[in-house]
């Protein structure tokens, strides 16, 4: 009897150690996955880094047939689509944050709006792309014909419009939580001094949540830079640079993500393939850094 009890406690101690080791192992696996992703990207883009050098980043021509690779058109395309999308989305995400954080935090109407915004984030990007291709493109085409640019329909502007809708929930949901965290004595103090609602929002809430709202914009920028499917379907996929400003905004273009999606399985020689992977590497670094800065700001904000 006594021995049995000892055995039991011994086996339980063994389980204890095994359990702790499993927990540690799973966390280590996570770290290994991320390191593995980084190493794979660097290793596979080595041929292109070696043969093309740093000039790859501002080479203006992307011509796989004559083996010339320059990433400049894609960098411009990515930055242009992301920033147009961001500019379009900021008023909406700020308005949603202020409405649901300050004006109407509870009640059925705000619940409805909140659920709608969660649904916007839930709809898969491929569906936005498909819908955009068949519904938005004809609309944009007539619009473009009216303002006197070449009516492609597909292009940077169309992609940015859809992208803007897709990234609004990320900044908005963060903004709502942050605005609700503004201490009420601050607001009450301002009201007691005779400030109107607008003045409280402008001179108490906005300054207090500025860094947090900025972090929300950064997170949605990170999402916009890496978004692939909707943009691939709507941006038109040309690797040549636009000559005029109007063409750059309304004409077809290509982003880093869309060129990878289109050409990765077609890349038939080493340098071509690794030039595409190098684009992935750049995308990885940029999005990860933007994301980490955003996360750091939020952690700092919520800890204060």
């Amino acid at each position: 009897m006594k021995n049995k009890r000892l055995d039991l406690s011994y086996s339980q101690m063994k389980w204890e150690t095994i359990f702790r080791r499993i927990l540690i192992c799973m966390s280590v696996i996570l770290v290994l996955i991320v390191i593995g992703i980084l190493i794979t990207l660097i290793k596979e883009s080595m041929p292109s880094i070696k043969s093309l050098g740093i000039g790859y980043l501002w080479g203006k021509v992307w011509d796989p047939v004559s083996n010339i690779y320059g990433a400049y058109p894609f960098l411009i395309g990515t930055l242009l689509t992301s920033f147009i999308a961001l500019i379009l989305s900021v008023p909406f995400s700020y308005a949603i944050s202020i409405y649901l954080g300050e004006y109407n935090p509870k009640g059925w109407l705000s619940n409805l709006l909140k659920n709608a915004i969660e649904l916007i984030a839930a709809v898969p990007s491929i569906i936005y792309g498909f819908w955009g291709l068949f519904v938005l493109v004809p609309v944009i085409r007539t619009f473009e014909a009216k303002i006197g640019v070449a009516p492609y329909g597909i292009g940077v502007f169309t992609a940015s419009l859809v992208l803007a809708v897709m990234i609004i929930p990320y900044a908005a949901s963060l903004g709502i939580t942050l605005i609700r965290m503004v201490p009420s004595p601050l607001k009450e103090g301002a009201y007691a001094l005779g400030a109107t609602r607008y003045e409280v929002i402008r001179s108490v809430i906005m300054p207090f949540t500025r860094s947090g709202l900025f972090a929300g914009v950064l997170l949605s920028l990170g999402r916009a830079l890496g978004e692939t499917m909707a943009v691939t379907m709507l941006i038109g996929n040309t690797s040549s640079l636009a000559h005029t400003f109007k063409d750059a905004i309304f004409g077809p273009s290509n982003t880093m993500a869309s060129v990878i999606a289109n050409e990765f399985t077609e890349a038939d020689h080493t340098v071509y393939l690794s030039a595409l992977i190098e684009l992935g590497l750049v995308l990885f670094f940029v999005t990860v850094i933007i994301n980490l800065i955003g996360k750091r700001i939020i952690t700092k904000f919520t800890n204060n």
Partner: protein
Amino acid sequence: MDVRIGIRNTKSILFKGVIVFFAFLITIPLIIVLLYIIKQGVTQVNWHFLTHVPAPVGESGGGISNALIGSFLMVLMSSVLAIPVGMFAGIYLSENPTTKLAYYSGLCVDILQGVPSIVVGIVIYFWLVKPLGTFSALSGSVALAIMMLPIVIRSTEQTLRLLPASLKEAALSLGVPYHRVILKVIVPCGFAGILSGIMLSIARIIGETAPLLFTAFGNPYLSVSVTKPMESLPHLIFTYATSPYDEWHNLAWGASFILLMFVLILNIVTKLITRKWNIQL
């Protein structure tokens, strides 16, 4: 004096009007997209559509059974891969918030959350597709599992952190071993939160297309072999939506409708779970 107060009040009301206008304007594109997909898709869906493979160009009829089965299998496999790792890593993070390993794995969760899905596709191509020599459902599942991981980990971690410490202390003081405390007391208490995280991650990956382009690739025939290319709903939508044929567009509309319904139902169920157990994610 009165005039100035009047101006300030008007300004305040105007501002509120602008805010309300912008806040509700954003629901319009959502409603348009939802209604359009439902209108185009609902007429496509019938028993034949769900149980047949896509028809070749020129023939009418055909369905999406290969993509339905493929999506289901791949989501199942990636859940099997991601949920244990995610849950255990989440438990580790919530139990040991101050260790060095927790710092680095927390950092890695943040990094993984920011990695564009297409980059995950590239990496899995070199990890699995190239060594195995063929596109396969298995590699697609691994790519999706990596996309699932950060959501599962964060939801587990945050749910377990919300549980009162006295719960764990009470169990430990009764002499229950640590692993049993975690598995039989702590995890069941936070189960709703963990489950809703899992469902959210499934809702996220079921619509992911970019990582599947170079991993599972797609297959116009019915296949259940995990080492062969396999079709999935989002990939089917992508190939058929960008094709020039009307019959194929109709298939894609039907598939979009089914995919959208999956995602919406998963989201609503998640909502109901979290509301019933009153857990904030």
